[in-house]
């Protein structure tokens, strides 16, 4: 298709560079410098999408980020596919593949267009009502259908093939928006000697100047002033220019989020990121975000070919595109006359300019009249015709009292509208700055800022070019000064430009028709109409925030860009309260939709989260270990031999540890070195246990509570010397415990001389457990006697193991004779391999966390986080023996004395469970009841915390927390499961070697 609607001259497009692209599979061409929208218009295509709810044909409405209709999917393949891009912001590039959305089978013939026929039955909030009535219809009928219909674009079907970058930046002054105000602000800030970042969402800096064909600035045509100013700024050195960069969010303390689009417009560039996230911390911010034109609300104001007047002017003057042949213009604002003149000069026939104002005059109005354009003052629009393209406008006289006369159909293929302009206060509002309603402007403008920010130009309601430039410069100078820069004297800009503009309208135009029978769209993207807003109010919603949610007006990507003021205008009419009292809705970030990819940045795949591996990890991997995640750690869960499943492997590992010996990687245990003259006193105050009398060379099981008396962590603690303890914590609790200890050390007990150091990653910990552990280990030990007499259970010695300095613990988490060998992490694997090899003749096996869990459960040893859940006291867990009763205080002691924590209360206590059928392994988390025949909700007595098949016992076993459990030992309880009830008998929690004889081998 050729570019039939391309003007022969004009615009900023590169006429020497033709670009081909496809839209819905049709090959078209455009020019370098086009957006997808301008290229489609150059090809005479207005129909660009289907609306969200009614599937009405929709055309290109705007030329900027506010575009609600022309949302397209872009990408030649699924790995590069992005849905819901605004065609007005997609830069054209060679080979671009775009498709329309929300239509089936095609844009022109869409079966869901049937919604447009049943619209009376699906008004605003209709789906809320389907929750209520008819009963059951929501889940069976409405929900599946609404779900199938919901959404516009589709998600890509393949992972994102592109990459994303992220960067932090600091600057003195960040200027958002590089239109005339932003450029002038940047000039001033640079002159003030400041480091400046200037960002703009468009591919070129300049904003409104990019489509400025009339004005001169300081004697130069606007385009030349623009290029000279940019050159001057680039030469400054202290300024960084970010084009194609959207400031999407204003976060606390002057941090702004920017997204820079790097390569989307550069086809064939490989190996470079698609977008970059900038997190900019600025001392001062200048917001020069401009303004957005308002549509007018009238019946059937949404047909393809209906555009904002300013957008049509931009297409003609910036892109050299004629958006139609014969235009009708409906306006409440002078700027539409300017658009009419520009289009007239471009060869577009102007059929009528209908101005709802009774007596428009001066400025652009006079120029239009002088040019002979047919101006109809006091004229409104009551409807439009045309299906896939507007074909006519019904214009009718509007009397001063609001009555609407008989309408006349004026044929056209382009209908332009302007209700005035809405300042873009999005970022200011996001920063929690207060907005105030300006009656004269008929708009919300920035009031008191909450951050160190300045607002310049059109986004605070200044519209005359000379004033915009002066305001921008003044705000840039103020920002520079506030950031510590030099004083920059104010300056003016001599401009010649066509006369000032005025007017504006917010609300719905009168049309004289039965309001129930027309649809006048307020929010095109969400298909919400003037009638919907009135319905919401009549159903009792008064707050504008509620009206917004009920009608979805201004939700999704609109965020108040085009629909807000008209919705408020309608509400103010119905409620008979001024807009200033109604207020406005909250502007949410992001300003325009932002990819998930740019937030994910580098955190994908292997870099998504930290992975911690022990020194023995790769050995275990080579042995075929199956790993599990324990906090950030990878831990070997079991070591299957060929053909073994997990249960077979675990049974074999368990039998080997009980019969001979097993070797286990305990390196992930948290380790904290507690040192200093007051180390023992510090531990006295932290842990429940008494530490003062623990002798160097001895170990003790330590139990740590929170201040509320519930178990937080546990671990074996060794006293290495009078002033040094080797504290171990659970794998997942290491950071939590150190933070808590530091908190008390720094804030509650600052008088104690004690130092805390995390040593988790300094030590590899090799657990050697089983009756043959000592005979396997002994040949490797130098400098210590590890006989039972010299080194009883719960003792520690510093020695050498396999030639490596070691802290050797005699400790057991299996119930067998056991050692834990702490060696410097770098030697961990060598020592492990030496011991493993030497132990083979004795039957040594490597075992994983699953076997560790089974073996400790057979002994009734708890695992914090499994037997405990933040509501378990030491006594509940059967651990009150650990408490140093004589100590005056420790963390949690006072809470244990509170009513409800101990005596006289039927708390849940740790017990064992044996199923009547020894083959049945209970589910962890299963609930226990006394009478399975009771009607639900049943009285629950407790739950299963750990449950395994025990190879040692050759039967199942479980641990549980049961109300008053210790008094119930011997009782039968029931576990109701789907389809059956399992009978269990309560036992003590120790299933194996209750006397502890095996600990000594």
């Amino acid at each position: 298709m050729s570019q039939n609607f391309r003007l022969p001259t004009g615009g900023r497009v590169n006429r020497g560079k033709k670009i081909s692209f496809t839209f819905d599979g049709r090959r078209m061409s455009g020019l370098e410098g086009d957006t997808l929208a301008s290229a489609l218009l150059a090809n005479g295509e207005h129909l660009a999408g289907r609306s969200f709810k009614y599937h009405r044909p929709r055309g290109i409405l705007s030329a900027g980020p506010e575009e609600p209709n022309a949302l397209v999917g872009v990408g030649a393949d699924e790995g590069h596919y992005s849905p819901n891009l605004r065609a007005t912001q997609v830069e054209l590039f060679e080979g671009l593949v775009a498709e329309s959305q929300n239509r089936s089978p095609s844009l022109r013939y869409d079966w869901a267009g049937v919604n447009n026929l049943i619209w009376r039955f699906i008004p605003a909030g209709f789906y809320y009502k389907t929750f209520m009535w008819p009963r059951g219809a929501w889940t069976k009928f409405f929900e599946p259908r609404i779900r199938a219909m919901a959404g516009l674009g589709r998600a890509p079907r393949a992972p994102d093939a592109t990459t994303y970058a992220q960067r932090y930046a600091h600057c003195d002054v960040l200027v958002v928006g590089a239109g005339p105000a932003g450029l002038a602000a940047a000039l001033a800030a640079v002159q003030g000697g400041q480091r400046v970042i200037l960002c703009d969402e468009q591919n070129e800096l300049g904003g409104s100047l990019l489509s400025e064909t009339d004005a001169t600035i300081d004697g130069a045509p606007a385009a030349r002033w623009l290029s000279e100013t940019i050159a001057q700024l680039r030469a400054a050195g202290s300024l960084q220019i970010l084009a194609r960069t959207t400031a999407f969010g204003y976060f606390p303390h002057n941090m702004l989020g920017l997204v820079e689009r790097l390569t989307d417009h550069l086809p064939g560039v490989a190996g470079q990121p698609r977008e970059r996230l900038w997190q900019v911390r600025a001392k001062q911010v200048v917001l020069a975000a401009g303004e957005i034109e308002r549509p007018l609300v009238f019946p059937d104001n949404d047909r393809p070919g209906i555009m904002l007047a300013g957008a049509a002017r931009i297409y003609a003057s910036r892109y050299g595109v004629k958006p139609g042949q014969r235009a009708v213009i409906v306006t409440a604002h002078d700027s539409a006359y300017r658009a009419a003149l520009a289009l007239y000069q471009a060869g577009v026939g102007i059929a009528a300019i209908a101005d709802v104002r009774a007596n428009p005059q001066g400025g652009w109005v006079d120029l239009a009249r002088k040019a002979g354009l047919p101006v109809r003052a006091g004229c409104t629009i009551t409807g439009t015709s045309g299906r896939l393209r507007v074909s006519g406008a019904d214009l009718a006289p509007l009397a001063a009292d609001g009555t609407v006369g008989a309408s006349e159909r004026v044929s056209c293929d382009l209908l332009l509208m302007s209700g005035g302009f809405t300042p873009s206060v999005h970022l200011f509002s996001q920063s929690r700055g207060k907005l105030v309603y300006d009656d004269a402007l008929g708009a919300f403008v920035p009031g008191t800022p909450a951050e160190d920010c300045w607002v310049a130009g059109a986004c605070r309601g200044v519209s005359l070019l000379s004033e915009v430039l002066a305001d921008g410069f003044a705000k840039g100078a103020s920002a520079a000064r506030a950031a510590g820069g030099a004083l920059v004297p104010a300056r003016g800009f001599a401009t010649t430009h066509a006369p000032a503009t005025g007017g504006g309208f917010a609300g719905a135009l009168p049309h004289g028709k039965n309001p129930a029978s027309v649809r006048a769209f307020v929010d095109f993207q969400n298909d919400s109409t003037a009638k919907d807003i009135k319905l919401a109010i009549s159903e009792g919603l008064r707050s504008i925030e509620h009206i917004k949610r009920y009608t979805t007006t201004g939700m999704a990507t609109d965020q108040g860009k085009i629909s807000n003021m008209n919705a408020l205008g309608i509400a103010t009419d119905v409620l008979a309260r001024p807009i200033a009292q109604i207020g406005t809705t909250t502007f949410r970030m992001p300003y325009t939709p932002t990819t998930f990819g740019v937030f994910a940045g580098y955190a994908r795949g292997d870099l998504f989260d930290t992975v911690r591996r022990t020194p023995v990890h790769h050995w275990a991997e080579a042995q075929g270990a199956v790993f599990e995640d324990v906090s950030l750690w990878k831990r070997a869960r079991y070591f299957p031999l060929a053909g073994e499943d997990m249960h077979q492997a675990v049974a074999r590992e368990c039998r080997a540890v009980r019969a001979a010996a097993g070797i286990f990687d305990a390196s992930t245990l948290g380790k904290i070195e507690v040192a200093g003259p007051d180390a023992a006193e510090f531990l006295n105050r932290m842990y429940v246990n008494a530490w003062s009398k623990l002798k160097p060379g001895r170990l003790r099981y330590g139990l740590l509570l929170r201040e509320d008396g519930f178990i937080l962590d546990d671990g074996v603690i060794g006293r290495m010397s009078d002033e040094c303890f080797h504290v171990t914590t659970t794998t997942g609790g290491a950071a939590r415990v150190l933070t808590m200890m530091e908190d008390y050390r720094q804030t509650e007990f600052p008088e104690l001389k004690v130092w805390l150091t995390s040593t988790t990653e300094q030590w590899a910990v090799i657990a050697l457990q089983g009756p043959k552990a000592r005979e396997i280990l002994a040949p490797f030990v130098e400098g210590a006697d590890i006989s039972h007499a010299a080194m009883p259970h719960m003792s520690v010695v510093e020695c050498r193991v396999a030639g490596v300095p070691a802290r050797l613990f005699r400790v057991s988490f299996t119930g067998e004779l056991g050692f834990e060998i702490n060696v410097p992490a770098d030697y961990g694997r060598a020592v492990w391999e030496a011991i493993f090899a030497a132990g083979q003749p004795a039957g040594l096996v490597a075992y994983g966390t699953e076997t560790m869990h089974v073996l400790r459960a057979e002994k009734g040893y708890i695992i914090v986080g499994q037997e405990t859940d933040g509501t378990v006291t030491p006594d509940d867990a059967g651990l009150s023996w650990a408490i140093g009763k004589a100590k005056p205080d420790f963390v949690g002691k006072r809470a244990l004395a509170r009513a409800g924590m101990g005596e006289g209360v039927q708390r849940k206590q740790l017990v064992g469970l044996l199923t009547d059928d020894p083959q049945v392994v209970l589910e962890e988390g299963a609930q226990l009841v006394a009478d399975p025949a009771q009607p639900p909700p049943m009285t629950m007595l407790g739950h299963v915390t750990s449950s395994y098949w025990s190879a040692t016992l050759n039967r199942s076993m479980a641990l549980a927390l049961v109300k008053n459990g210790r008094a119930r030992i011997g009782e039968t309880l029931h576990v109701p499961m789907p389809g059956r009830v399992i009978r269990v008998t309560i036992t003590g929690p120790v299933f194996y070697d209750a006397e502890g004889i095996k600990l000594d081998g």
């Binding site: 932090y168 976060f251 606390p252 303390h253 002057n254 941090m255 997190q279 911390r281 929690r432 909450a450 201040e707 509320d708 933070t739 530091e742 908190d743 720094q746 804030t747 509650e748 600052p750 005056p888 205080d889 002691k893 006072r894 809470a895 004395a897 509170r898 009513a899």
Partner: protein, 97 residues
């Protein structure tokens, strides 16, 4: 992201810090001396201020020190940060008004 002035390291971005709850919640010198209700209050009752709130932060990915801060909960602006053991600098609040 907040910009928080660590009394030891200076201004640093929020992600270097951990929040640590309300400040100046005093743990009794000898908890045995306090009643159940007083201890319950110490454990669970917090002021939930609208306005200037004294709170604890820890420069976890920095000097690892806990410190106190006065932050206006309605604006997220920090009025002051100060070291543990120093008294609440209410003069700074007044000066900030």
């Amino acid at each position: 992201m907040l910009l928080i002035t660590c009394p030891f390291c200076g201004p640093r971005p929020e992600l270097e810090f951990g929040y640590a709850g309300e400040a100046h919640v005093v743990r009794a010198q000898d908890p045995r001396d306090v009643s159940d209700s007083q201890w319950t209050e110490y454990l669970y009752q917090r002021s939930n201020v609208r306005g200037v709130h004294a709170e604890r932060w820890r420069h976890a990915h920095g000097c690892a020190q806990f410190f106190n801060a006065l932050r206006d909960t309605t604006t997220d602006h920090f009025v002051a940060t100060y070291r543990i053991g120093e008294s609440r600098p209410d003069a700074a609040v007044e000066a900030g008004r």
